[in-house]
């Protein structure tokens, strides 16, 4: 952040207090995670005996990656990770395409019904997923699906236990459409008109002009859709029973319910936390500005 001119330099005493407060808070926010990572390297007995002192936060004693290999031996966690990666990737990428096209059409083009569609898109922002989760389970059991039977394509009903049920409902997102529309609006419309005169179609204008100029909007929407997609829990826990299609978060909850081996539980939670943490630390500036952008939601 820029230092505003005329800003008074803080007194040394005051600065000391601020550092003290921030350090105390940093300990509060970090201690559970440090404990988690450290404990994932220790045998169960040592986790419990270390808990009373500083050793709980230090990788000392009988350190190994046995808990990690234990998790892999017990459950197909590699498969769970793959499922989550597939679901998250498709949701984010397809979401960028679908929502940015809609945002473009809503902010830069004139067509009948535009106002109504815009109103509906904004109205969807007020609906939390929890309010439709239960009827949605019923709804997806009624949806038609193509199946292969004895070499023939037939159709059947019900989307339970599929990838599509984890992906398709989450591609379109009213808030993403809104953010894209807001961003595209800032690109001068004269560019569109010049391109039209040169004979470019609307899709070409979107693809060749609007998209390349909107990197920050794409980054923001990607980050804001990545986290909830990766963290999906309520929905897959209802519609996916098949272990082969289970995402990591649901897989972890099953693992947690069936195991009291804390070392392995901590290894599992560390394993799925670490990648997100690394991505966050690498792109923390982008994360921060995405969240600030989400502040326009209302």
């Amino acid at each position: 952040m820029a230092v505003q001119k005329g800003e008074r330099v803080l007194s040394r005493r005051r600065r000391l207090w601020i550092y003290l407060a921030m350090t105390g808070l940093a300990v509060f926010f970090l201690f559970p995670l440090v404990f988690m990572f450290v404990s994932s390297l220790k045998p169960d007995g040592q986790i419990l005996s270390d808990v009373g002192g500083w050793r709980a936060f230090l990788p000392v004693g009988d350190i190994s990656v046995d808990n990690y290999s234990g998790v892999f031996d017990r459950v197909p966690v590699g498969r769970f990770l793959l499922n989550s990666v597939i679901v998250t990737t498709v949701v984010v990428v397809a979401g960028l395409v679908v929502n940015s096209m809609a945002g473009f059409a809503l902010s830069r083009m004139r067509w009948t019904g535009r106002g109504v569609v815009l109103g509906v898109v904004i109205a969807t922002l007020i609906v939390p997923f929890e309010t439709i989760a239960v009827p949605m389970v019923y709804w997806v059991t009624q949806l038609p699906t193509l199946v292969f039977e004895n070499g023939w394509i037939a159709y059947d009903f019900g989307w339970l236990d599929t990838y599509e049920v984890q992906i398709i409902p989450f591609i379109a997102n009213g808030f993403s459409v809104f953010l894209f529309a807001q961003y595209f609006k800032t690109i001068p419309t004269a560019i569109d008109e010049a391109a039209r005169i040169d004979g470019a179609g609307w899709f070409t204008i979107y693809r060749r002009i609007a998209v390349p100029l909107s990197g920050p909007a794409f980054a923001t929407v990607a980050i804001l859709t990545f986290l909830p997609a990766w963290n999906q829990y309520l929905w897959p826990s209802m519609v996916v029973q098949d272990e082969d299609l289970r995402p990591v978060m649901v897989g972890m909850q099953y693992f947690f319910q069936e195991n009291t081996a804390w070392g392995e539980v901590m290894a599992y939670t560390s394993m799925i936390t670490l990648p997100v943490l690394v991505v966050f630390l690498a792109f923390q500036r982008a994360f921060v500005s995405s969240v600030a952008a989400s502040g326009v939601k209302g």
Binding site: Q4, G6, R8, F29, L30, P32, M36, G52, A56, V98, M101, F104, A105, L106, S107, M109, R110, W111, T112, V120, I126, V127, P128, E130, T131, I132, A133, V134, P135, M136, V137, I168, F170, A172, F178, A181, Q182, K185, T189, A190, D192, E193, I197, G201, W202, L227, W230, L234, M249, V265, M266, T269, I272, V276, Q284, V288, V291, G295, K297, G298
Partner: protein, 317 residues
Amino acid sequence: MTAISSPERRAASAAPGPVSRRKTRGDLRSERRAGWAMAAPAVLLLLVFLIVPVVLGFVLSFTNARLISPEPTSFTGFDNFVRAFTADPTFFRSLLNTFAFAAVVVPVQAGLGLVLAILVNQKIRGAVAFRVVFFIPVVTSIVVVSILWKFLYQPDGLINSFLDSITFGAWQGTAWLNNPSTALAAIIVLSVWQAVGFHMLIWLSGLQTIPGELYEAARIDGAGTWRQFRDVTWPGLRPTRVFVLITITIAALGLFVQIDVMTQGGPVDSTSTLVYHAVRMGYRQQQIGYGSALSLVFFVLVLIVALVQRFLTRDKD
């Protein structure tokens, strides 16, 4: 950035400005068609996976639908709502728990978030690093957080050991999550811990919209730290304040994952919440109709909160 303003109005100003070049009829027709074509995928998906479920949820609320049932579904009028408010003590308990949770989490999370924002907004070295640290729990999955804290709250877990050592053994240790009088409070602590960093950033972007000249003027007038906060910072944060309070309230009313992972609503329903109960009845017990009715109650609460926001921001823009 003004953190909040009516989205309709702002998006409406997104309309293309007056057209400088005269468009032919063909141009307009192709624009109309292209516009629809490009909006169609998102519109269709929102229709099928958001608007239909909302309408369906409303309709199912007045039926006895079950997920798998040999008997046909029939309309039962307000039976589900009558049952919820008169014959389902768990629902009533869940409603109270949800309100209690929101009543504590909203002020605590908003207040702590503001404190964090003011701290990391100071012009001192390392402020960015602290901002990153305070935000780390937000990128940690709430499922992971719930499992982790469940271990911390164990009778022989970290928190009891810590209390034991700072009280020199006077603390007897308690099973935080198994005790009806402490379970909800325990869940409140970890919920705030996980989410407060998000609102710190929202507050921070609000703080950064306040011009530095205002503080300078206040200082020249002899205002101390507290006066500056009361007379410059606080009024300057008005739009941010409404946004933060509303988003925390809606999120708090939707409390689910922590309950599902840590307590399953127990002990003796002391942590059951509205959404948890709706999922339990609607999905686990397969009473889709009743679960939809409970979800509708939650939706009505969210709508009320949204209307309050409208009311609070009505004179803006």
